[in-house]
Structures are given as structure tokens and as C-alpha cells.
Subunit: 366 residues, 2 copies
Amino acid sequence: MTDPLPPGSTVGILGGGQLGRMLALAAARLGLRAHVYEPGAGCPAAQVAARTTCAPWDDVQALRAFAQGVEVVTWEFENIPTAALDVIESLRPIRPSRRSLEVSQERLAEKTFLQGIGLAVAPFAPVEDRAGLDAALARIGAPAILKTRRLGYDGKGQARIMAPDDAGAALAAMGGRPAILEGFVAFEREVSVIAARGIDGSVAAFDPGENLHEDGILRRTTVPARLSAAQTSDAVLIAARILGALDHVGVLGVELFVTPGAPPGALPGALIVNEIAPRVHNSGHWTQNGCLIDQFEQHIRAVCGWPLGDGTRHSDVEMENLIGHDIDRLPALAASGAALHLYGKAEVRPGRKMGHVNRITGPAAR
Amino acid sequence: MTDPLPPGSTVGILGGGQLGRMLALAAARLGLRAHVYEPGAGCPAAQVAARTTCAPWDDVQALRAFAQGVEVVTWEFENIPTAALDVIESLRPIRPSRRSLEVSQERLAEKTFLQGIGLAVAPFAPVEDRAGLDAALARIGAPAILKTRRLGYDGKGQARIMAPDDAGAALAAMGGRPAILEGFVAFEREVSVIAARGIDGSVAAFDPGENLHEDGILRRTTVPARLSAAQTSDAVLIAARILGALDHVGVLGVELFVTPGAPPGALPGALIVNEIAPRVHNSGHWTQNGCLIDQFEQHIRAVCGWPLGDGTRHSDVEMENLIGHDIDRLPALAASGAALHLYGKAEVRPGRKMGHVNRITGPAAR
């Protein structure tokens, strides 16, 4: 157990995208300084951080200077090179720890871990080659999804296999990288739980939100999710179990499939864990306008050894992502009664997350 | 009418204290960059602004470079030297305009303005010397308050006159500066209204809050204020009248005395305008956790020509200032379920505002 970092301390954030930006803003509210490390120039977080180091992940001198200038290091994305983490970890604590990173950087490790702590996941099998894929398909059946084990996000590095004939093309799409075949889960809806775990082991979960994806990218999260009381309770318990098993310090997002029927190993209406994100998550952005303390502040509180805040939802919220040229609707959106959260990205690109809006749809319904 | 500034534009903020800091944070949410101009080193706003110019108010070159690097200029405090404003105004629009500054920089001008637009104020008289003070006291009567006309805030530059015998000491406390004598208003409570006016003349007011001062410094604001529906409506109309008469663009705070009886020129229960602040105001900090859009974002929206946002209150809130060593209560406060807003000030000094906390006390009562 560590003493909480006093105000005026500096939090190091690896990655300067929108999540790093909103973490830096939350740190500022708490009187903490943010020092962002990001290889790309002109990143969103640099505009709001007290300090930014713009250097590549293999610049050992820059990494050392960064670590020496901060009290604790956290990250905004999972795919940070191991060697960079080695340098930082020799100097300052990294929270959440590398265990959380390792499990979530690799889909096979993640699924194995989740299954190992007794949670329901889609049937899965590792795939290295065509023979392995055929064997996996024979066991799991089609439809199924072939995914690269690493570096996948927002639907990239994935190929659907609707019938065994699709196997060759799907495998080719993996580009020779190790893959995992996941059985298709027929789900009614996808929900996610964002939960935080403090350095003292205390856990606080936000109410589950219901997610709608388009083209593999989150489009909308609606809170509350349409879940029974038992399902809501299950969702929170699942998140708590994962947090505890990882000894995670900080926020973690869990995507869950709500099943209509009874897939193997699951009760009707049961929740199947789709994937975890060991960090603040897009599907938790609604908390900025639905709760007294949002996911970004919970994360900063946790990694700085502060007590977790009160994440009770005061309002029902609908969060909508602004993707690519959605941002062109800005004048109308600004006038619409929605809260805007824009990321300071200069260039609009198709599929690029430019910002999001939160709409309060009413007082919290329970 | 001007086109709204597009995201990525830079807002210049004169003054780098906590109000400048929270304005910069609000600008960031909207995808705008903040450039802060502040003579003092290591100011609170510099930690969160995209850029900071640390230079004195008489550095014409720095002022010019600052103005040329931003699209619009606003301010966080009223006492900016006129010559600095001259330089900036020759290059970029200043919002709110200097009319709002001029009226509120000088108490005699402010009272005269308020009376001129038909609002009730405490009886007042200009005071230059002892003879003038005696004459003013003879007309207004004791108790009364003698105040310097300029540079007063948080109870500084004020002296109470409980009886004519106090006149000499009170005048001495003015240090030879022009003063104003204000009749003492017997009030039940002080409330304030924070309202915004857009560049198109639209007005949005937050619900009035009830203020408690200690030693001349705001200690606590409770929302909603204990007001009748008619008083609430009056308070909002008073703010709107001031905003319109000043052609103000941005946020303005109005402090009002709620009177129990019938002072000269006022109905029982009427509202007497105490003073105005032509900017975001400490008594509006509750909006950060009580409304979808807070006072800081309303101000940035207004000065950037954006439509005003929805400032409807979703929750009842109590705001408490953390003054001086109040900040030592931090560990307990962090655990208390309150939202913390700390200003990043390194040095604790008695009377110094170090931060504030907002507590949600329930869903919005109406």
C-alpha cells in the first residue's frame, strides 16, 4: 500500500490520443500534472498536458528522462513495446501493472485467462496454419471469426468465416500472423461494464451501457442498458472478478454479449465475455455527463493511490461517437443540447474518432 | 454576427488563475486550443493550456504576438490595464467587450449603470474626502460600507462604518483612493445568478445559487437557493437585463441580496443587486457537476460565437471552497463522495483559494 500522491505530483501517460487527453484533463481537475509520452507530433493530449515528450518508443534516453520526471506511469493503449515498458518499470511504478497489459495484448492469452477464472467466453482455438484452421473449424463450426492474436482494434485484423469455403481467404487476411478462431456468439445485444479498482483493492463499477457498433467501430452507447437486475448484477460481478484476478489498479472495460438462448456452458440470458480493455474505454465516455466522477477521474484516482470516487449515475445518457466526417454536423450538434467532447484532431479521416457527444435523456432510471 | 470559430481555433485568455485554468479545460472539451497570457510564472492555467505567454502587462511585443496567435481574446479577471487592452483590441476581438470591463472595474460606474437600467441597488454616494464622507453618511446613514472604487475583491479595500465615529478610520483605510459609500442592506440571504449571452443575443441562465461568505470570501454555494418562484424569475430577468444593456458576450455573475422587508425603493422580498462580475464566477462553480454544460463552457461557447449549451440543472449541488489549509482535508475529501476541483497551486497561503468541491445532494428539486 502506497500513500496517495499529493496534488502537484506528475502522472506519466503513455500515448497521446484522445484517451490520454481525457486522462490529462481528469488529472488536472485533481490538481495533478500530466506528462504525456507520444511518438507522434501534435497529438491530442499535448494540447492539455503540462508537459509532452515527443519521442519514439525505442528512445531509451527519452524514456528514462520521462520516467524520472513523473511519480507514476499509466497508459492509454495496450500496444506499447515491451522494451519501452522495461525501461520505465526499472524507474517508476506502472499502473495498471504489466500483467493487465500482457493478458489483453494477446487474444489467446485473454480468452485462456477469462476461461481460467470461470467466465463464459465464445469457443476458441489457436490457429497457426491451414491445417490448424480446418481442425478448429471442424470443432467450433461456422460461422466463426478468425482474428489476429495481437494488435487488433476497431474491427481490424478480423475475418468472418461464414462457411468452411471462406477459410483460405480468412487465413490470408491474417498475413501469416498467429491467429485465433472464435465461435460466433448469437447475441441479443452487447453491453459493457466499466469498473475501477483502487490500490487498496476496492472496486467501483459504473452502470452497464448498451453498445451499438457499425463497421466494427463503436457508434453509440446507451445507459442504462436493457438488462434484468440479475444481469446487471452479473455484469458487475464479472468485472470485479477480472479486476481482482489481474490485481488490476485503474479502470478496465469489459464487453459482454447478452445471449438469448443457451449456448454451450451458458444459461439462457447469460453473459459471455467478448473482450476486455485494461484501461478507460470508449463505451465509458457517457460517464463524463452521467456521473459525478467519470471513468477518467476514477482511473487517475486509482493509479495515484487515491480513494475511488462516487460513480453513481445521476442521469440517463446516450453517447454517440463522431467518426470521420460526422464532425461536419458540428454546428447543429453544438445547438442540439448535447455535451460535446472534441479531441483536437486537425485532420478528418474516414473511420477516425474525432470526438463524441453525450445527451442526457432523463434523470437516472433504476 | 460572426461565424462560429471552428475546432482547432485558439482562444486567448488574459489571466492564468483558476478561472483561466477552468476556461482552458472547457475550451479543450470543445476541441479548441487555449493560449494563456499571464505575468506570473507557474500559473494554474499554464498546466492545462496548449500555450502560455508569461510576460508583463506592459510588454507590447508579447501582447502583439499573443493577439496575433489567437482568434479571439477573453479574460478571467477585471483588472487588466487599459493600455494592454488597447494593444490587443487593435488586432483581435475582445469578448466580452471593454464596456463590460469598464462598468465593473469601478464601483461608482457599476452602481450608476445598474440604477440607470432600473435595477434596485443599495443607496450609494461617491466619496473623495472627509467632508464628502460626512455628507454621504448624513444622507445614507450608518451602518454603511466604505469601499475603494477600484481593485476590490474578496472583501479587500472595504471598511465598515457602524457609527459616524468610524468615519476617520474607514477613510484612512482607503489610502487616499477614490471611494464609494454604500448603505448597508439588511438582507435575509445572498444569492447569485450566473447567466450567459451569446453573440446572437440569446441568453441562458443557470438556476440561482445561495451564497455563504466568511471573512468576505465565498465559502459555500447551495443550489437551488431558497427563493420563491417569483424571486427566481426576477433574478433571471435581472441578469438578462444587465447582459442586454451591456451587449455582453460571455458569462456574467450577478450577486443579489434578498431583502426581508421593504427598503427604500424595494418591495418586500425584493432583490437588490449587490455587484456584478462580468465573467465566470466562483458562485457558478457548482455548474460543473450540476448541469450538462457548465459556466466555463457557456463562456467559451459565447466568446467563440457558438450557440449556447443546455445549462439545465440535473442535480442539487453544494459547492464548498477550499481556502488555505482547507486543502489539508484532502484525503478525507477525496474519500467523501465529493467531486474535487483543485487548481494546481503549489503554495498554500491563508485566504488563498486552492480548490473547491461539489457535492450532489440529490436529483434536481424544482
